[in-house]
Subunit: 453 residues, 2 copies
């Protein structure tokens, strides 16, 4: 029996896809990275399917690439030559939702926003909300430790992960963490799997923390500025004043222009940056008024304060449209540096200078309240890969961010795309430890090889 025939026998024919036209669509994420050709794509329906795949992969030394929805921006879910892509999107049950304990137990294929909606029915919310939350999976969010718009107030995915069910490289299953909000028994394996990008194990279920949904509909402002620097100064002022926004996003002119060209948002000629801020606190209206004042004091040319849920949706919609609008301009290399909050204005100026210096088009959005910037390098659609000038500019952006005490990636992960720069941030001893840990969990190196570390 061939290896693939064994795999089919261990699962079921309809769960094992081998037609290249079909497998190709499961081989890519949202990056331009050209994938290797997988042996097969497995559509897992249960933990037992995942166990069967990992046992088989261990026996045959076949690499396995876990995959959620393929919305990743770092190449993490890109197929490697001769691998099995282990697609988890069919495992999409919310196994339990306990309003009393404010937790949910979910399978990895649950769409992020679906979990949030399920929680809302009980007056709760699932806080981490990447911009992609209508299309990304919880498993992918956990594996990348995804951030999102609300994480300026509620923290990243790790802060909502209490426990995991994980299938190890050899098919053994462990439960990490717990159902309680606190606990310190043993090393924090939950935290270790979160953000490990599918290189240490396959997450087949998660116990996540829910939070009380705010009782008021959040008060939202949109502020336009004639300079990016003023917008960044307003961000600092809002944080320093203790406003604790539940969302604080920034868009530059290139991005706003792309959105305006696509959807006509009535962009003023003088607007070079826009801030969108929200407070979901009990006194949110007062806080938003204060944030509006701080924007005006820092030079905003125009501040809109939403007076209805529809107006709020429109403002947030501008932010959520950004990536699709950028994609209309060309192929995108989406970057993800994060700097200490006080460095935000400097980093923004650096990005502008680097773009100008290399004649590269950069469109920047930022989870500004966290200092997390997404400079999107836009290049000719006809090219398979970014041209040299883009890589040079990106390299400068990374080095500047690291020089300010920042990091290469705030939320998207290292994947394939950032491995080249990894050692600039981590150094040789930490890399040795990373590889030592990898060796403990995956001694044959079959789990998502060549990614993350």
């Amino acid at each position: 029996m061939t290896a693939i025939a064994e795999l089919v026998a261990a699962l079921a024919p309809e769960k094992v896809l081998t037609d290249p036209d079909v497998t190709d669509t499961y081989s890519r994420d949202q990056t331009f990275v050209e994938p290797g050709r997988p042996l097969a794509v497995v559509l897992a329906h249960s933990r037992d399917d995942v166990v069967a795949v990992m046992r088989w992969a261990t026996a045959h030394r076949v690499p396995v690439v876990p995959r959620g929805a393929g919305t990743g921006l770092a190449g993490g879910a890109t197929a490697v030559e001769g691998c099995v892509v282990l697609a988890l999107h069919k495992m999409a049950a919310v196994r339990e939702l306990s309003p009393d304990d404010e937790i949910a137990v979910v399978e990895p294929g649950v769409i992020t926003a679906d979990l949030d909606r399920a929680a809302r029915e009980h007056g709760l919310m699932y806080a981490p909300d990447p911009s992609s939350y209508e299309i990304s999976t919880i498993g992918g969010n956990l594996a990348t430790n995804a951030g999102g718009l609300r994480c300026v107030k509620y923290g990243v995915t790790r802060d909502s992960a209490l426990g995991l069910e994980v299938v190890l490289a050899d098919g053994r299953v462990i439960d990490t963490g717990r159902r309680t909000v606190k606990g310190v028994t043993g090393y924090d394996l939950t935290g270790l799997f979160v953000g490990s990008e599918g290189t240490l194990g396959v997450i087949t279920a998660a116990t996540v923390r829910l939070r009380r949904a705010p009782s008021v509909s959040p008060a939202t402002i949109g502020a336009e500025f004639a300079s990016l620097r003023d917008a960044a100064a307003a961000v600092s002022a809002i944080i320093a004043a203790g406003c604790q926004p539940s969302l604080l996003e920034m868009l530059d002119r290139t991005t706003l222009k792309a959105i305006d060209d696509w959807r006509n948002i009535g962009l003023a000629d003088s607007t070079r940056a826009m801030l969108i801020a929200q407070s979901d606190a009990a006194d949110g209206a007062a806080v938003s008024a204060r944030m509006a004042e701080l924007c005006t004091a820092n030079g905003a040319s125009f501040v809109a304060v939403s007076s209805s849920a529809r107006e709020t949706e429109e403002l947030i919609g501008i932010r959520r449209m950004a990536y699709r609008a950028q994609e209309r301009l060309g192929k995108c290399l989406v970057e993800d540096v994060c700097v200490p909050r006080s460095a935000l204005p400097y980093m923004i100026e650096k990005i502008e200078a680097i773009a100008a210096g290399h004649g590269v088009l950069i469109s920047t959005v930022a989870h500004a309240g966290d200092g997390n910037l997404h400079p999107v390098f836009i290049f000719d659609r006809a090219l398979a890969e970014p041209p040299a000038a883009v890589w040079t500019a990106a390299d400068e952006v990374f080095r500047e961010a690291l020089g300010m005490g920042g990091t290469l990636t705030g939320e998207h992960g290292v994947g394939l795309l950032k491995r080249r720069w990894l050692s600039l941030e981590t150094g040789p001893v930490t890399e040795e430890l990373h590889h030592g840990i990898k060796q403990v969990f995956d001694p044959l190196g079959i789990l998502n090889p060549g990614k993350a570390i």
Copy 2:
């Protein structure tokens, strides 16, 4: 040259203590555990001292027990025979405090409350506040992932740890994490060191997150109940109503009686439990009024609402006195189970039944909002160790907590005292992974051997 002479030469004579009377006081934590005799105690003054100790220890295969303030309740800092106790309390500088980035960089010997006070000067706070915060160190808090009173709202120590400087077993130094609030480059080594109880490396500095201090002085209530079950029901009601208390503590009658006998707090005969709750929200007074109502609705016989900072201090003072009052009753085995919040009433009844069943005196306080209970087993001061009945009762408490989906230890750690039960919670595969990780960081097994895993 003897090994100790080499150590003295590498440091300085006054940093190496060998007089048994002196070393004995550095060999114990707050438990009754009888320590082994250390070769020496080193008073580290700098990272370089720590590096020198670890290089020397690696060369001579000598076990090293890191030590903060020795306030631990699990035996984690207990000296093992022939070890060097590496005392870090002299490394107590706040290296940096950045109000703009809302972070501080501190040495491990900084007393927890001192950091909080330093932050308050800038309108900020350091949130994690174990009851021991006037005597414990940040290094010990990180190594145990300490909780505290405010963690029901602000999370545990891990949630405030952004980056660490760590000296590895062989004396090499790494920096984990970052100065930014977000970041996903590489595996989460920061999270792995936090809670590792000195078994993976010695923390010599930490970058911690500060938070805006609440602008209002928190409104506080103290509610007395004629039954523990009613008090637990009030806890559930407060959480379910979305009050988001910044503190929610419970004390049972045995504890209250011990405090009353010591400090006369005017305890009523009918009071069997007390809740102390606080809200530091902008609308805290209204929230506290709501919490008071919920206590009354759940059968509270008396509810005090503080109307001044002094009254607040008095209420919180009752909670902070608990341990000293318990110690007046005899020797204490302080336990630390944590259960899902909805299980709190059941767990409390179980503890009462177990105490009665074994004729053991148990005095319970709880970080009730987190489901974290401290049943304190009190036994005869003349005994060196808890009698068999106490261990049997403790064993039953652990098994009940685990059966409810809880954990052996919410915040104190496994140390020496809970290792016997560890495998009940973790299982053999997880234990194998723990030991694999330990092997990566400390191949000679010299760092705090016999603890935590």
